[in-house]
């Protein structure tokens, strides 16, 4: 499926949109980390919690559920809120 990558993480992927696989959000993030080592830890902490200001959307709808099912036809957008100075 297609995954949109926010600009702060493009140093890992080299491009704004990449292909990855996974039957759930959690599996998708693990696959992304296999393809782009280190990427997942910048978004998900060591306790499995989404980091502050990191947001995930599936087909335009926000999800906080790492077990949300995904299909190859879905598109996932990863967004980092821009805040602070």
């Amino acid at each position: 499926m297609k995954v949109l990558i926010p600009s702060p993480l493009r140093s890992y992927t080299g491009e704004s949109e990449v292909e990855a696989e996974g039957a759930t959000m959690a599996a998708l993030l693990l696959d992304l980390d296999r393809r782009y080592p280190g990427l997942r830890f910048r978004m998900i902490d060591e306790q499995g919690r989404m980091r502050r200001h990191m947001r995930f959307f599936v087909n335009g709808e926000q999800t906080f559920d790492m077990m949300r099912p995904l299909t190859p036809a879905d598109s996932v957008q990863i967004v980092q809120a821009l805040s602070g100075g």
């Binding site: 080592p37 902490d45 060591e46 919690r49 502050r52 990191m54 602070g84």
Partner: protein
């Protein structure tokens, strides 16, 4: 606590060098490397590295003279470490950055940033220690590529109690800092926590014990409670590793081992300046000499230079007397200060002193603080400055 026989200390060399020192500058928005000439008059600017990333500490491995580690936390992204073996031409990310063990029911802690990097003993090449926010210790045995939780401290209930909550710590998070390895004995370790006191291990980190006797705490609190202690920066004297100096939330202290009781030597500072601050710098060859950079710790803790007049203070007699050193620094209306990792020295003769300010200025002295000159201005807020000798 039993103390084992230790190797004699090797004196820091002040021999003339073919190259100038390096200054490794970590800031709120990236890192810079300043390359000095042998006279330490001219400085070449190399940077920014990691523009826009928060770099908490940038350290060169003194054992190989070429491995740089950068502790990064990058806005809203999770923390990581970068590594270079060619003085920053190329960087690669740590394969496993410091991360706490998984807690039961998802209640474990997460590293917000790596704050402090310490190369281990010279006989342990490739080994590093890291202190984090919130307080934790991590160790790498492969030159900073992968990190594992170290010691009992991270999860010990007593230590966790002394660490307090994130609301008890410094404004940008409680920190584990001042991780020190005795140059005579790799198993003799110290570290400090803001807050949570100062601690010692003589068994390579299998166990630690508080070392807080004589240290004062904020008025009205119980000094016997480790949680109330806030060491800001502790340094061991390379020329006499039995002597430590400390800049604390509540004064300046000296400890001469095997004593376990700190002596407040900051009482000899001028009363109008006080003895509150963050950095502590020790002379590499003279254990009676150290420097502090006081800040305004009165009322609401403005954290500026006292009266807007920045100055270093030096003692050359172990803290009996202090001398102001401000020549070249602004005379007035300079409302910056210096963070705990942002003042350091080289080992040349006379030693060079360097400091980075909260307003992004880098200052140098090539005469042990007698006069100061700005090396750079308009950098981002400076978090850490290290002097290094490249190979």
């Amino acid at each position: 606590m039993a103390r084992t026989a230790r190797k004699p200390v090797k004196k820091a060399s002040a021999k003339p060098r073919a190259k100038g020192p390096l200054l490794l500058v970590a800031t709120r928005k990236g890192a810079w490397i300043f390359k000095g000439d042998t006279a330490r008059r001219k400085w070449e600017t190399d940077g920014p590295h990691f523009l826009g990333h928060i770099i908490n500490h940038l350290m060169l491995d003194p054992r190989d003279g070429k491995t740089l580690l950068a502790a990064a936390s990058t806005g809203h992204l999770g923390p990581t470490l970068f590594r270079s073996t060619d003085f920053g031409k190329h960087w690669s990310e740590a394969k496993r950055p410091p991360a706490f063990a998984k807690g039961a029911n998802g209640n474990g802690r997460s590293v917000k940033h790596t704050f402090w990097l310490t190369p281990a003993h010279e006989n342990e090449p490739g080994v590093w220690y890291a202190g984090t926010s919130p307080q934790g210790i991590f160790r790498s045995e492969d030159g900073g590529e992968s990190w594992e939780p170290f010691s009992v401290v991270n999860d010990d209930p007593t230590y966790r109690g002394w660490m307090g909550t994130e609301q008890d710590g410094t404004p940008d998070g409680p920190k584990l800092h001042s991780f020190i390895v005795d140059p005579r004995d790799p198993k003799h370790l110290y570290f400090g926590m803001s807050g949570g006191g100062f601690h010692e291990s003589t068994d390579g980190g299998k166990s630690f014990a508080p070392l807080i006797d004589g240290m004062e705490v904020v008025e009205g609190f119980d000094a016997a409670n480790v949680a109330f202690h806030d060491p800001h920066c502790v340094r061991l004297c390379p020329s006499n590793p039995d002597r430590l100096y400390q800049q604390n939330h509540c004064g300046i202290y000296r400890l001469d081992r095997p004593s376990r009781t700190w002596t407040r030597i900051g009482n000899a500072m001028p009363k109008r300046v006080g003895d509150i601050g963050f950095p502590m710098v020790v002379h590499p060859r003279n254990a009676d000499t150290c420097w502090v950079f006081p800040m305004d710790g009165t009322t609401v803790w403005p954290r500026t230079s006292p009266d807007g007049k920045p100055a270093a203070y030096v003692t050359r007699n172990g803290g009996k007397t202090w001398k102001r050193q401000s020549a070249g620094l602004p005379d007035a209306q300079a409302w910056w200060t210096v963070k705990r990792q942002a003042m350091t020295n080289d080992a040349r003769d006379p030693i060079g002193l360097y400091l980075g300010t909260t307003q992004g200025e880098l200052w140098a002295s090539r005469d042990e603080g007698e006069s100061w000159r700005a090396v750079a201005r308009h950098l981002p807020e400076i978090y850490a400055v290290e002097a290094a000798e490249g190979s």
